[in-house]
Subunit: 301 residues, 2 copies
């Protein structure tokens, strides 16, 4: 039985995942829980984290009490907002210690093992982080209204906008615009009603249709993917200009957009060493190894 | 005492205005009420309309009972959604008859006196309508998420987006970006919190700052106004292509964007004959003059 355990949690607005390793680094178990964006209700977020952690402990053959031997690292969306992190850390938990950082920070730790470098997450939303000599530079990730370019949210929402342009005659229609309109029963009113209530992931579900049509050179689809690529290029350029020797593209759109990027950017991309859960475990190890006694929340950015 | 009265209401999401004329066309009174977008609660909308109508009646020296002699025309936002119009018409009202159309339709009736032509409203939102030989062609006006280009909403929201680009290093900063950031205490988090809860009019309140900086050739401000102008040009082109002999620009941004438009579009702009309240009065007159007996809702588009 190892003396210490290390627990890493990767948490976003939809769900979170936890992984437990022993002090030698061996994988013991993994589990899944509910939403863990820190901007949500702190009780809900801690409950999601505990659900994932207990599932990981159960898979590892550990008892509930064993979580008291775990140094926990939480890489959770929204952790840039310090007041929200403080609320989360005020919730009761069984862990020996808790260190919190953003999901992007955990992704960077996992991808580069703590060495200088950058990550760019292109998923439902988008967020990038370069860490160079301990200095952090974030890019994007400011939310659905005024940010998150090159994401599924953005591509899907812009696809609907341009479909309406075709619908009301401001633009030529294309097979993609026709396909989107028919997905809404040919009704612009249905699109409007959908868009008024859609969450980011709902817009993102249009991305496969866009990509399918881009493959057959649909002009609207080509424009949408090109614009997303230009947005991604702007973010990658910023991360490299901050001094990052390389950038790891992560998230569901990473594989898609990589091939569209200009070669001078593409050649600076690398594959991640590990994932965000292992990054969160590294965060927990760093907190444990910290020389001075620190409060549980000391690792908050 | 005139036998009949004609009441015209111009209603949007923020407030509504009513005007009463006698059967000879003489202006008797005007009044203001609350929100009248038909997509809001029907009781609230009718209450807003009655408040404005009673205020107009009071200014005209008329009694409440005189509204029973009024043919009412309502030009109200959201009236393209027929189910919402039906709910509004199910509310009790004192009028002799009620005809409902969109605010854009009333604006067109007022601007062109019912003749072929187009209007393009560039305000907090945007919406255009060409009517040619009785055939209506709407453009934009599909709501904040996927539409309403060239509006105060769009310019303000994009100004915040680009300010965040400057803040996180994706773009060079400019005096406008600096001014916007300092309006939010230098905090990107404040911008994010504002954007998450802002209504269209809240974004629109940034427009004066953008225009002020455009006047001194700020690169970001110039880009924002140029993009809005390109969006407006696309809409005007559509309205002209639908056969409209001319387009009246209306709304708070009309005067601003007109000067930026390419000459071939600018020379097709005309001044409106009358406003949307007079358009709504014309709607009421048309409904009264209709040869066959019609239900009160017959004028709904």
């Amino acid at each position: 039985m190892p003396r210490f355990l290390f627990l890493g949690v990767d948490g976003g607005g939809t769900n979170c995942r936890a992984r437990i390793r022993d002090d030698a680094g061996a994988l013991l178990g993994e589990g899944t829980g509910g939403p863990a964006n820190v901007l949500l209700d702190s009780r809900l977020v801690m409950s999601s984290i505990l659900t994932a952690s207990r599932a990981a402990a159960a898979q590892a053959g550990l008892a509930e009490a064993d979580l008291g031997r775990a140094y926990a690292g939480l890489g959770v969306a929204g952790a840039g907002i310090k007041s929200a992190v403080a609320r989360l850390l005020a919730e009761p938990h069984p862990f020996r210690s808790v260190a919190v950082e953003t999901d992007a920070h955990a992704a960077w730790l996992g991808a580069h093992g703590g060495a200088d470098g950058a990550i760019l997450i292109l998923g439902t939303g988008s967020c990038g982080l370069a860490v160079v000599g301990g200095r952090q530079s974030y890019v994007s990730g400011w939310g659905a209204q005024v940010s998150d370019e090159a994401s599924g949210l953005m591509i899907g929402r812009e696809a609907l906008r341009r479909t309406l342009w075709a619908y009301d005659g401001r633009a030529e229609t294309t097979p993609l615009a026709d396909a989107i309109l028919s997905r809404f029963g040919g009704s612009a009113e249905e699109i409007v009603a959908f868009a008024a209530n859609a969450r980011p992931a709902d817009f993102g579900r249009l991305v496969p249709l866009v990509l399918e049509h881009a493959a057959s050179r649909d002009p609207l689809a080509l424009a949408l993917v090109s614009e997303a690529t230009a947005d991604a290029a702007r973010m990658i350029t910023r991360l490299l200009d901050a001094g990052a020797p390389s950038v790891c593209l992560l998230g569901g759109l990473a594989g898609v957009l990589e091939a569209w990027l200009p070669p001078p950017l593409r050649e600076r991309l690398t594959s991640p060493k590990g994932d965000a859960m292992d990054g969160a475990i590294l965060l927990a190890r760093q907190a444990q190894a910290a020389p001075a006694p620190r409060p549980a929340s000391a690792a908050v950015a």
